[in-house]
């Protein structure tokens, strides 16, 4: 018999970086207008950075006002033919796009992670599959539109201008484009300043799918490009996802105009833990609510309301769980929390966290080795937060959760609803009747019980109050892109 080995075996996950050699990126991307990539009328190219390394990935053309006009003209010219296509043919283009997204899923996931900093685990398992699913879902609607509005006759609105944020770049583009195109509109989409790449790959996919020229145009740029797009006279409908401040500007800018508008804006969503919750799963609901995508989620469960009777226990469990979050290289398949999307966003998070400390809340941040370069913020928990504190009121849009306590169900509902926003909420309870009652009482567009940040193309998403209006997903997601003729 050989001697046996009884020395302790140390086990940790080895680095598991996703390969990037299959990614085909160009050094430079033009604007996608009328079915082709072209340089801007007044040449302007800006680098897009990898927020995990601060290294440039590619040079991106930014659209100026002339380019906006050109894209809208192309969309206008293409719209009648696009709308006149037999519905089933329009559907097949969208099915093609859905398939192409699936086929290029690995590449799209890597690019999403490179450009935006989100963990590959999320871009691979959430962003890209859901983007494909959205196209697939709305492709199926294209020849059934009348059933989406209760069997009435419908018509497209025309040319739509769409602006998407940097937190789910491809997914938000899918949420915008799929229903717009299914309904027979043509679209001009502006991706976010810091995350244009997957939208440009989607432009390539539109070419591959042989989508008619002008049906989709993609115009990277900053706020100025977006402002020009939504104010352009040739736009029949504006769909915007982003901050409440910008949404407010857009709504005001469209005052007195017939342009149709939907807004998906900010939030400070309450996640309510009741004493009868299954506490370990409640902790998962909390973690999914606030650390998913570094907290860069409009519906993030950033106001954690915990019943006083379990306050200490839940915080202890949450803190222990936070300690197991793996923060770092977004391309590593085992990373749970990636890079903050931009220097600007990091600055905003730091400012609000400093405000929280100054206002007297207790801050706890997990210790972890953060890379030397790039933008990082370690998961953070604030306790002893008062409802009036800035960190309990303002959207932080980062991996920072503010804990408040409550004593009774009525108090929980009152506190949850005491917000200018109304995008989402979480309820963590094992009691079914209570879950239905509280879900009914919350003034929020999405309510998750015992989970958080679940999305599905069949389920409407959108806000109450200052979180915006209009819905994306399901039949409700068609209505913003249709008019009922009779």
């Amino acid at each position: 018999m050989t001697t046996q080995h009884r020395t302790a075996i140390v086990w940790d996950y080895a680095p598991a970086p996703e390969a990037t050699d299959h990614v085909r990126l160009s050094d430079r991307y033009g604007l996608f207008i009328d079915g082709a990539f072209r340089d801007p009328a007044k040449p302007r190219f800006e680098p897009t950075l990898n927020p995990a390394t601060e290294q440039p990935i590619a040079e991106i053309a930014w659209a100026g006002p002339e380019d906006v006009t050109a894209a809208i003209d192309a969309a206008r010219a293409a719209q009648p033919r696009w709308a006149a296509l037999p519905d089933r043919e329009r559907a097949k283009y969208l099915f093609r796009i859905a398939r192409l997204i699936q086929e290029r899923a690995r590449e799209l996931a890597v690019v999403e992670t490179l450009d935006g900093g989100k963990p590959l685990r999320e871009s691979r398992d959430v962003d890209i599959p859901l983007a494909a699913a959205h196209f697939f879902h709305y492709a199926g609607w294209a020849d059934k539109l009348r059933y989406g509005v209760n069997a009435r006759e419908v018509a497209p609105l025309g040319v739509v201008g769409q602006i998407v944020p940097w937190n789910f770049p491809l997914l938000m583009a899918a949420w915008k484009l799929a229903p717009a195109l299914a309904c027979g509109n043509t679209a001009v989409l502006k991706p976010a300043e810091t995350t244009p790449l997957t939208a440009l790959l989607l432009a390539e996919i539109c070419q591959e799918a042989e989508l008619p020229d002008g049906v989709v145009s993609i115009l990277p740029g900053d706020g100025a490009t977006g402002a020009a797009l939504v104010r352009a006279p040739g736009i029949d409908k504006v769909a915007f996802t982003g901050s409440t401040a910008v949404g407010r500007d857009i709504q005001a800018a469209l005052a007195g105009r017939p342009t149709s508008l939907t807004l998906e804006l900010g939030g400070k969503s309450a996640n309510i833990v009741f004493e009868d919750a299954a506490l370990d799963q409640a902790v998962e609901g909390i973690v999914n609510g606030i650390f998913f995508n570094q907290g860069h989620v409009c519906c993030a469960g950033s106001r954690l309301l915990i019943q006083e009777s379990v306050l200490d226990e839940v915080i202890a469990k949450l803190w222990a769980r936070m300690g197991r979050l793996r923060v770092g290289d977004p391309l590593d398949k085992n990373t749970d929390v990636g890079a903050i999307n931009s220097a600007e966003q990091l600055q905003r998070i730091e400012t609000l966290v400093a405000a929280g400390e100054n206002e007297g809340a207790q801050r706890r941040t997990i210790t972890c080795d953060l890379p030397e370069h790039g933008y990082w913020f370690a998961p953070t928990l604030f306790t002893d937060v008062s409802p009036a504190h800035r960190i309990a009121v303002e959207e932080i849009f980062g991996p920072v959760v503010s804990v408040l306590s409550f004593r009774t169900q009525a108090e929980a509902i009152e506190k949850a609803n005491n917000s200018r926003y109304g995008l989402a909420a979480g309820i963590l309870t094992d009691k079914g009747a209570k879950a239905f009652e509280v879900a009914g009482a919350l003034r929020a567009g999405v309510v998750w019980q015992n989970t958080y940040n679940h999305f599905d193309p069949t389920a409407a998403f959108g806000g109450y109050k200052e979180s915006g209006f209009g819905r994306e997903g399901g039949p409700a997601g068609l209505r913003p892109y249709l008019k009922v003729v009779r």
Binding site: H5, A14, Q281, R324
Partner: protein, 295 residues
């Protein structure tokens, strides 16, 4: 007294368990993980046709699973029926591999308490270091928690110095609420380990069940201050499944739990898959079943 259940959310626990199944375990992590898993194996034979000869072969395999790969450690224990304990004990003497025995009317447990106790005493007398007992599901499902605990406590007494692993037979409990409740009952009654399954039921150490039991252990330790180990048994037959269970341990209880003192994996066919996968990671060549002896 009516039973009070701490609740588990099935959707939540299965989602979390599945998410942890997506950890990427490659290269050195895979090799180290496989070695660790081997060291936690309770190499088991529980067949009517078991003979002293077969048990001796199994013991040799457990002590030195892969002679060509000396870095592969011995397994944690050899697990047999009480009648073969003395054979195993003799074969394992001085190797550090422990002798474990199922007892208590395994696997159904549908015998009298007296018979269970005698079964246990026989196994301990024959030299078993560890006893794997199965709870009375009949009592548990009838709501008689006191009887479940009384039996565990008596058998614990009968074990003397031997470690007691209490099998919950989770597939027969019907819900995660019950799995958690049974885990707590067993720990409170004196279990040294809690174990998922006999391996004879329709399912065993599913990721969700493992996670619920690990969370129960963590909460019990927090409350009672006594450490209780965990054994995954039933259905863990591939390296991938074994590594998934280790991920569950690592991210629920922590790195200090990654030791055979606290974690075991009940297995028969698993061991050779671990060896095959290890060899693959060493040589870059996919293996075949003939590369390793069955026992």
């Amino acid at each position: 007294m009516s039973r009070r259940l701490a609740h588990v959310d099935r959707v939540g626990v299965e989602e979390r368990a599945a998410q942890l199944g997506k950890r990427s375990i490659k290269t050195t992590a895979k090799q180290q993980g496989i070695r660790l898993a081997v060291s936690m194996v309770d190499l088991t034979t529980l067949e009517g046709a078991d003979t002293p000869g077969k048990v001796r072969h199994l013991c040799a395999k457990g002590v030195c699973p892969a002679p060509a790969m000396p870095e592969i450690p011995s397994v944690a224990a050899i697990c047999v029926y009480p009648s073969l304990v003395s054979t195993a004990r003799a074969a394992l003497d001085g190797t550090g591999v422990r002798t474990a025995s199922v007892a208590t009317g395994f696997p159904a447990g549908q015998v009298s308490l007296e018979a269970k106790l005698r079964d246990t005493e026989d196994a301990v007398a024959a030299g078993a270091d560890e006893i794997d007992m199965v709870i009375s599901r009949e009592a548990f499902l009838a709501g008689d928690d006191a009887r479940v605990q009384r039996e565990i406590a008596k058998i614990k007494d009968a074990c003397g110095d031997a470690h007691l692993k209490v099998i919950l037979e989770t597939a027969e409990l019907g819900s995660y609420d019950h799995v958690r409740h049974a885990s707590m009952l067993a720990m409170e009654a004196g279990a040294d380990f809690i174990k998922t399954s006999t391996g004879k039921a329709s399912s065993g150490a599913t990721p969700g069940v493992c996670l619920v039991m690990l969370e129960a252990i963590r909460d019990y330790i927090e409350r009672a201050g006594r450490t209780v180990g965990f054994k995954a048994a039933g259905g863990v037959s591939t390296s991938k499944a074994a590594l998934h269970r280790l991920v569950l341990v690592k991210e629920t209880l922590g790195d200090e739990w990654l030791t055979p003192e606290r974690i075991r994996i009940g297995a028969s066919s698993l061991l050779n898959d671990l060896l095959l996968q290890y060899a693959k990671s060493e040589t870059g060549r996919y293996g075949r079943s003939e590369d390793f002896s069955k026992e």
